[in-house]
Homo-oligomer: 440 residues x 4
């Protein structure tokens, strides 16, 4: 079972001695049950037909997310726990493999929406069966610590897909002329956002990245020192109203504000505003009448954080303000300094939309509400190395042509995020809850 | 209500006097109920998820077919019958309009598979509601003859979509690595196909096209004279076994046998055999091990008619045999001469796969089993004119870059087909039950 | 040398006895020298750089035309005349093969503009060398009649490329923001076009296609009988002014006037007027300020025939006029009846632009000025068969998804055209001198 | 003339006082004449037709390079020197603008090969005219220092295009089945490459980036401190022979070695070896028979540095060797430590192909031979800001989705390169002389 060992890369080995094994198993089982139930709950409001939607190759049907997260446990935990494991369905190995070449070939990503079979009901049974087997093995006390660490990894993986379930179904519903709501959401009352202020940070030598204790993804490691110049960060996320000023000032029509490749995307895709803004009159510039949310169409609220913008838009906005975006290290240092308190709007709140801060002093909204584009490319940390097993494919092979986002969003489970957490998307991606914090 | 009048173009006005109005209404109502029920039945075996499948832009989800055929009655019958007609759902006018620009804009064809809403249940309610309203109006006796003729047209339209439901779901299931069956089908016993013989036809002046009595589509009119040289037709459809000889003789690798544009398609799409043939070893030449049918995977049967081939393949095969394909007029004359008896396998048989003829003399399989590609381009007959209303868009605007097919297939309702019936598809289309009859 | 024999398919064998062999050789040599010289002359006004232009995959560089027409004589005449023929350059077999799979593989069509080598100078030497060898063999008296027939074919082929040289360079220059002129052309004085009248033709049985005497392409054969209904043709080509009325009446914005596929092209390509019309203000509807010609930009002249339109536009225009386009057989019968006198503007005139007729009665402009789109698909005549040799690829393999044009244009050599001549292009093609004659 | 001032961003202002103005003018004039002459010389071996070649949108015709580098001086120097400057041709402002939106719209990049006019002769005249005007103004002594700095910038810009002329024509000739040589090159004798050794570097705080004295591009600034861990660099570039081992070991068939996006490129483009390697048998794995060079086809030499590979290939190779690529800062520190002596093969040598080192100890080939892919994304240095004028577009707007290359190549002018020089290309680019140095 030596190939299980290296997965401990994800979990600091320091922890292993510190924790009572029985307590650890119990606590893990409890979390397993809870997190898996949340995923199921997220899908519960959707019809069988909704769960089949795949509106673009970047997104996946909810049914596929439900199956793939289960596949993860079956392939990486159950198969390793028992060389005689009988697969729930041998075809699933292929159908629900996302991108693990070492596991085998993959059903084409862009065609996931064409799998009417297996049915949602069958996927439900798949989930129940795997859940039982995992819990049974876990509680048996016979599984080695390395397998438990794989379950830990699987839960963090599951939480990533919880967020994707929401962002993907939002995009799927956006393509329907009736603009369906994922569920009824109460519309927050109108409150004026606090002033945008600058928070100063002194430069110097700083440590970034995840320490060896506790769970973290391989891409957060190793912890290492960096040199930072002095910098300032905006006190809160940029609001819809502020972003509308950029549009009103012809921000989408001035190539000097844009990266060259961003301008090409804007032109090809006819971007004139963030994704999900709806101008009744097409030529409308500035604030739209309505914005599409997981609660359906809602009146435009100038005080909310702007989101669903690409890196290119975030960067152009910052340039227009004569500022820039933070680097991921600047962001991390500010987060650590702020105490890393995860105070913003997360999935757990049920709001499913970025919240407004009322905080008048200090730095706000570092966590939750909307992911913050940084000007850091998603690259390996010095000394980064991947696990030898299939799980080496988890993060490393995507380290090109993507930018780092930090802090989580209103669709992220609160206990999933960390100061060292590195999310990443190509600079043109817009369907995530991605927003802007300024730096200078 | 003058705009209803011209629809009588589809129905020979000669009929109007000949038939007792009350009898006509009763008989029409009976057929309406029966044909609409068949459509529903065709969908009944499919899961909610299956009904959402759209595997390529040319195909449509079954749910969409169910809705669109209903839309046809609502827009062209109910709306015209009552200026105050309250739509079942105002959005449907847009969502389920196939291509009638005169009715209004259309939801993009290629995105029909992304409509998780309205649900299949709602479409069921739509069908029931419209059915009741049509039957009620029809039996009331207050509807003018022109409206009745529109119902007649709607029923023929419905039957066209019955065939498409089957060909489209077949294509959708083909994309699933489990190759689901639409339903269990009994596999016919192995019988050797009768010899391929040549049937002679004398040339001369012949009348083709639909007479003014009885229903026909506008594209079958007007009836007119043509000059035919003497010709011979193959006594039956080309079989899988015969077609496999073409493949074994490198038919897919010899550009001299192919139309230039066909060769380009073959190269771009990597055609090596008819659609739905499955060679376990990719390089396999000649007969495959298995063929995908609406009953799932089935062993290759050399005696069945070949089908699911493009015009390009039919034409290349004929050239390889030093023959050609028939013209549509040759086919029609042979069909008329044979008595137009619709003896082949149709939808009604429930076989859902082309049948084998046992007929040893004379011409066989003119009707049913597989559509026969002709070497005639789909063009207007001399004197063709379209209806002035929206229904003018039914056929005429497709008269370019398509070839005529004749005779119907195993997925065509038997009472839908005629000797004068002109089906049409672009020469690269392969997902219909399209086969080959030779001529020379 | 049996494989040379079948080429006589292009030349009626009836001729062979009738003509004195020595006279025939002399006359053929004289025509060979004259026609080859014209091609050279057409290129002489262009710079070395102009001759490399390939502005889209459908067009070819002038240098390529010069080489390919020479290749035709080398491959089909010189190689067959002498099994020990030493090629001018062995690579040319590949580089300048247009589409003859039987001759061997072909340099990719879309990349012809990337051949900076061989140079134009080398192609000039190639032409001179092959010309000498052909003339030498031809005048030697030792070549069989079949080889002479191949030279005849090569000359007709050469003339087709003379027209393409002009249409291709016109398209190439159109892409240059300076709109260069191919050469200075005198602008014809303004004359009002005669009224558009209807010329009646009685229907009945008619013979169409080329007789066995004299040269014709295989696609014009065999001569056969057709039945024609009575019909009327417009007395002249449709003018720019008449076409501008169609545009002013929103002809490009009304889908009901267009074939469905044509509407898709118009939308994708943003067609708002014929190719080469230039509206200074983009939104301009109706007559443009200027039109691009081989003489450069020229003021719009409402009385000239409209040209550079696709079949889709011709068809939409005819529908808007409540007329239709002629069939190719109607056109041919009218041409024969008119005496087939080739009275219009041809390449020989040097005008290089469609001319205006002044003829006030009878049918005008059947020949020359602009090719006339017919509503006939380009299909084989009954009994058509191709030559067995490589030359079988000359025409037959293009008989799909193309429409027939008749009558020649201002870029066609006058002695190249015939009443039975069938030109063909896909319905979306616009870069030829293609115009409209109405029928009803 | 305030807008000229900021260009001094490119030139350290410290220099201004230190240099005698007259001497500076003279020396600049001498360099201007020399560098401009080199460009002309590079094009002199090419035919008029060669100079029109554009084999892909990324490359440009040599004629375009000749014009654009001249345009740079006309727009940024002559226009600014004299508000009444009469343009050589007003259209050139548009035709030869590469990407400066602030200067105005640009002729589409992908269509540069379609400009047969202006002719190469006219571009020659354009060069001579602008050269005279620049020299005249420069020597007049009346131009302010800021204008002189713009000339300096223009010369560095010119040198960048000298390299592109060679890489672009190489790619253009590669598409010609005759594989023409740019010019005859002597083939170096076979010498065994020295062993690959590891050179150790101690980590710590280091300064990187260009100091304020001397010319540098904006992207090299500001100079700033970084923290480096200890590292090792390969003693020389990776050779063809070493790279062939990677291929022989199925390096192109193992997705685990590749970045995910790199694997997609490899699959779509069918990469099996570096660009310009020619295997006679397509399936050949390992060393090819021949390699295409600017001297035409040449036998494979295992001891030469591998080049013409993408970042994806460099990265996969490094992973296969269980190493990694250097960061740009590691490379720069090593270069500084080595004394920055530019000892490798540069454009000046006339070899036009990467050279082989014979150096047996210490680090070799840091400069020249082949650009070295680093694992650093091309991003702004901390505190980077762009010039306010049009020249702000020079570098900054490309800082996304590109990777940094260091050290120059055999096509780079020796006096163009520096230790701080940052070249950049998208990770899939292969047509530059780009190679590999390992790190760990």
């Amino acid at each position: 079972m030596s190939d299980i060992q290296e997965i401990s890369y994800f979990i600091g080995t320091d922890d292993h001695d510190a924790i009572d094994p029985t307590e650890h198993r119990k606590s893990l089982a409890e979390r397993f049950a809870r997190i898996r139930a949340i995923t199921k709950e997220l899908a519960a409001r959707l019809s069988v037909e909704d769960c089949m939607l795949q509106s673009m190759p970047d997104t996946s049907p909810v049914k596929w997310h439900l199956a793939h997260t289960t596949w993860f446990f079956e392939i990486f935990v159950l198969e390793r726990s028992d060389p005689h494991h009988i697969p729930f369905d041998p075809q699933y190995r292929y159908l629900f493999n996302s991108y693990y070449d070492a596991v085998g070939p993959q059903y084409p990503r862009a065609r996931r929406g064409l799998l009417s079979r297996p049915s949602l009901t069958e996927i439900g049974a798949y989930r129940r069966t795997v859940d039982e087997q995992v819990l049974c093995g876990l509680l048996s006390g016979r599984w080695p610590r390395a397998l438990l660490d794989l379950i830990e990894l699987g839960l963090h993986h599951e939480q990533q897909h919880q967020e994707l379930i929401l962002t993907d179904i939002k995009h799927g519903f956006w393509g329907n002329p009736d603009f369906p709501a994922y569920r009824m959401l109460s519309v927050p009352e109108i409150k004026t956002a606090p002033d945008h202020q600058w928070i100063e940070y002194e430069g110097g030598r700083a440590m970034v990245g995840a320490a060896s204790a506790g769970f973290s993804f391989d891409n957060e490691r190793p912890r290492h020192a960096v040199l930072l110049p002095s910098f300032e960060l905006g006190s809160r996320l940029v609001t819809n109203g502020e972003y509308a000023e950029f549009i009103a000032d012809h921000g989408y029509d001035r190539p000097d504000l844009w990266l060259s490749e961003g301008w090409a995307w804007r032109s090809r895709e006819h971007w004139k505003a963030p994704l999900y803004w709806l101008h009744e009159e097409k030529s409308g510039r500035g604030s739209p009448e309505r914005v599409f949310t997981l609660g359906g169409m809602r009146a435009f609220d100038a005080n909310e954080p702007v989101c669903h913008i690409s890196y290119f838009e975030a960067d152009a906005y910052a340039r227009w303000r004569k500022c820039r975006l933070p680097t991921e290290h600047e962001w991390e240092c500010a987060a650590v300094k702020s105490g890393s308190s995860r105070a913003g709007t997360f999935l757990d709140s049920g709001l499913l939309h970025p919240g407004k801060t009322m905080q008048n002093s200090g730095i706000a909204q570092l966590f939750g509400d909307a992911w913050e584009w940084t000007q850091s490319a998603y690259l390996p940390y010095p000394g980064f190395c991947t696990a030898e097993s299939e799980l080496g494919e988890y993060n490393g092979k995507f380290m090109i042509n993507q930018m780092v986002l930090r802090g989580g969003s209103c669709a992220t489970p609160r206990d999933h995020i960390r100061s060292t957490y590195r999310n990443f998307f190509p600079p043109h991606a817009r369907w995530q809850f991605s927003g802007i914090r300024l730096a200078r």
